[in-house]
Amino acid sequence: MGRKLIELSSNLLLVAFILYIVASFVFAISVTGKRWGKRDEQAHKQRFGSIGFGITIVAVLAHASYIITRWIGQGHIPTSNMFEFIAFLAFSIAVAFVIIYLVYRVPILGAFAIPVVFIMIAYASVFPRTVTPLIPALQSYWLKIHVTTAAAGEGIFAVGFAAGLMYLVRTIDQSKNSRSRRWLEGTLTLVLMLVGFIITSVVFNAMDYKAEFELNIDNTKSVVEYKMPAIAGPQNAVLLSDSAMKPWFDAPGWMKGLNAAKKLNTVIWSVLSGLGLYVLLRLLFRKRLGQLLQPALSDLDPEMIDEISYRAIAIGYPVFTLGALIFAMIWAAEAWGRFWGWDPKEVWALITWLFYTAYLHLRLSKGWIGEKSAWLAVLGFIVVMVTLVFVNLVIVGLHSYAQVG
């Protein structure tokens, strides 16, 4: 029973994943394809917008069914390891998009926000999908409430991020070499690096690639297993697997810890594959990424996108405050007898919150609207991702989730 449900849940997630991809294409076509046929442009936009939205709704339902079936199958809510949490975050981004879309009805928003959703699902799939038994500290309904509300807040911020990025693509002058233009290319390349990370992980995983290193830490021998070819190997390590690629260089000496070099290697792969993708796209289209995307947004009112981005953040801020700070404090008080302990995850929740606080104050009092505000919206979600990726995987705190396999 349990096993069947969990298999079913995996399939449902796959269905949702595919539907999200289809939906983003339809949303993109609703704007870019309007000059194709003889149909009236407005009618075309509306029609494809509605189709895209319909597909999104089905995808969200499939995604929700994934959560429910896995929940029943394993007996606890699927938010307790990295795979489950990120898949859940993807769900809340999708729901947030649906809400914002219902207010503003801007189809092209779907072409930016929904890719964030499926990239997240793909990213989740890089982590092991095994059911994780709950350790005692995680067995609390406050934890569930905390994790789900925090994810909901972050999901809404993600829509603010997508709209902020749209604003930048729409308004930054592509004909002049400016700092904004370079930063925009950089930001888009950063997204490509995440995509690159996912692709390389999936490919090497499918190839079942393994390279084992034996190394000496504090006079005890241990073995590290790389799942990607080692560009950076651990210092003073012996490669045990014969067929595996020899490292090009050793990780620097200050990177201590069993998995430090492996993490560095993963980062190198992400950066290289992201850059590779970037070069490929440039060769293919002979345009900067910003330039490539800009026409899709040309008939959109910038003030409208600015407002969508701000609105998303304004809606998300109270949710995030409640979930990531207040519920977290209540849970921490129940679990450890202190509502705040300054462990890295707590501090990063505070950092995220302070960042958005600064965003709101700057917007309100210094009139940071438009481009500045859009940059902050983009940066804000990068802070969220840093919390999720960097803090969880690198600065391992009290309630860190599972490690990359």
Partner: protein, 542 residues
């Protein structure tokens, strides 16, 4: 106080930018232009914008500035990021002093980190000072704005100056339509249906809704202040207790700094079994995955606690199976499941023997948690315990010491006093071995039998009287956030001057919503309007 008189006759306090009654700009430079008016705080007179002479003014203005507030917030933010690069001192994974740990583990950067105090950032004086300053700023900035804003919103009249209406971000001018009187009644009806509060004066009206949401940010700030006060309250003696007790199975122990005693009726560890998870969930090896720690605890109160020198008289007051996330609570005392030593050695069972003859002289038991200073073996022989190191190690200069109060590696110095050794015979005793004093040959030796094992539970003892204040602050803060973000203050002015109808709208958020609303009511009343929307910077948008 010199008042500033507006053309409309209303006397405004010094420093007012837009007349409280009719909204007309009072300053000549603003009156002249045609860019949209800055509607922040309704152009009310704020102390910080009006006075800047005395020291008090300057301090006030410093703390009421949002710019300064953002700086402080950003400094706290950046410092916090730095504070998570390396673990804080309390989270150092190995028992080493911070002065050594950071340099040894992270090299030069670690040393700098330690020297700058980042290893203890969150209780460092400057970090706490910044938080306090943000707190002060919260109070000052709220007072500076909330009171004038409140007064200004209360004093606004229905009719406004034309200069005010034509310089709103959202506006339209229509020539007076036919049957304007009844149309205006209709408009009023539609606006009321949309839950606007409508005030009417002849052919003009002011529709307003959601004014309360303007107080949201201030209520949020008040909540944050309450929160900060709660956090500071822990510094008051008696408001915060942070203690720890280790209790063996069946043992009753005093809860430090309280009149209570706690008994453990048994500590257990549950492990996950195969049945707990769906088969084939991908987990073949559940070996040793812990499901729950549990202490059956009973809490007693010492009813004699108030009588000095009297024996404790215990009365049961609470009983609870403590598991992680479910502490025992009694009044404001909380006991949390926090540590465990399953099957720990509780007592050593020893026999004193004569090394030469092998004769067993007598048995004795050393309770590692409660060692006696003297053990009587028989009528003529006693053992004195001279030293006890529960967690033995050598210091750098080779002196014996104990790492912790927990009996993880117990060591003793024993002295046997007997007819053969009237002056005593000393020996070191470790787990499973003993060592005579150097250069002597001992008469007595020790035999070890199976030690007593027991489960020991570690209970964290907490009392935090500030918690209700903290939660109350959170609640108020959330209330303010919800008010401020999920509602907006919207106003629509419709004013008739001779042959023209002036329409203007203002909201503190969500212009999109306001615009749709204005368009909708005019459409319903079949009055064509073309709304003009100015961007904040005066750029035309639509």
């Amino acid at each position: 106080m010199n008042n500033v008189k507006c053309e409309c006759g209303h006397a405004n306090p010094v420093g007012t930018v837009l007349c409280e009654a009719c909204g007309n700009p009072l300053l000549e430079e603003i009156k002249q232009g045609d860019s949209p008016l800055d509607m922040r705080y309704e152009g009310a007179a704020r102390r910080s914008q009006t006075y800047n002479k005395s020291i008090i003014d300057k301090v006030w203005n410093f703390f009421s500035s949002v710019k300064i507030a953002v700086y402080m917030i950003v400094i706290v933010l950046v410092a916090s990021i730095v504070g998570t690069i390396f673990p804080q001192e309390v989270y150092i994974p190995v028992p080493k002093p911070a002065s050594i740990f950071y340099e040894e583990t992270y090299g030069f950067i670690g040393k700098i980190y330690y020297l700058l105090g980042f290893h203890n950032l969150f209780s460092s004086w400057w970090y706490v000072l910044l938080l306090l300053m943000i707190g002060i700023s919260l109070v000052v900035c709220s007072l500076d704005r909330m009171i004038p804003l409140y007064k200004a919103l209360k004093k606004q009249k229905v009719k406004h100056s034309i200069n005010f209406l034509t310089r709103q971000r959202l506006k339209a001018e229509v020539s007076v339509p036919a049957e304007w009187g009844s149309k205006l009644d209709q408009l009023q009806g539609f606006l009321k249906k949309r839950r606007y509060d409508v005030r009417r004066e002849g052919d003009s009206l002011l529709a307003e809704k959601g004014r309360f949401s303007r107080w949201g940010p201030y209520i949020n700030h008040i909540g944050l202040i309450i929160f900060l006060i709660g956090a500071l309250m822990r510094l008051v003696p008696g408001y915060y207790l942070d203690q720890y007790v280790w209790v063996k199975d069946g043992e009753t122990k005093k809860v430090p700094e309280t009149p209570y005693y706690v008994k453990s009726e048994g500590f257990t560890i549950d492990f996950y079994e195969k049945e707990d998870l769906p088969e084939g969930a991908g987990l073949d090896n559940l070996q040793g995955v812990i499901k729950q720690y549990q202490t059956k605890a009973v809490l007693y109160e010492n009813v004699n606690a108030g009588l000095p020198g009297s024996e404790p008289k215990l009365q049961e007051v609470a009983r609870h199976d403590i598991i992680v996330n479910h502490p025992l609570k009694y009044n404001d005392l909380q006991l949390f499941q926090s540590g465990q030593r399953p099957k720990a050695i509780a007592a050593l069972n020893m026999t004193l023997v004569n090394e030469k003859t092998g004769d067993k002289i007598g048995k004795f038991k050393i309770d590692l948690y409660n060692p006696q200073s003297e053990y009587k073996i028989n009528d003529t022989t006693t053992i004195k315990m001279l030293e006890y190191y529960p967690d033995f190690e050598f210091t750098k200069d080779k002196k014996p010491t104990t790492k912790s109060p927990n009996p993880d590696n117990p060591a003793f110095v024993l002295n046997v006093i007997s007819p053969q050794t009237p002056n005593g015979e000393k020996a070191w005793l470790f787990l499973g071995s003993y060592l005579p004093a150097p250069g002597t040959e001992n008469i007595f030796g020790y035999e070890f039998s199976m030690p007593d094992l027991t489960n020991i539970t570690g209970l964290m003892v907490r009392k935090d009287k500030s918690l209700p204040v903290i939660y109350f602050g959170c609640f108020i803060s959330m209330l303010g956030l919800v008010m401020g973000f999920y509602w907006q203050h919207r106003r629509i002015w419709i004013q008739t001057e001779r042959s023209l109808v002036y329409v203007a709208g203002h909201t503190n958020k969500n212009w999109f919503g306001l615009k749709n609303e204005v368009l909708d009511v005019f459409k319903k009343a079949s009055i064509p309007v073309s709304l003009v929307e100015h961007g904040k910077d005066g750029k035309k948008v639509d």
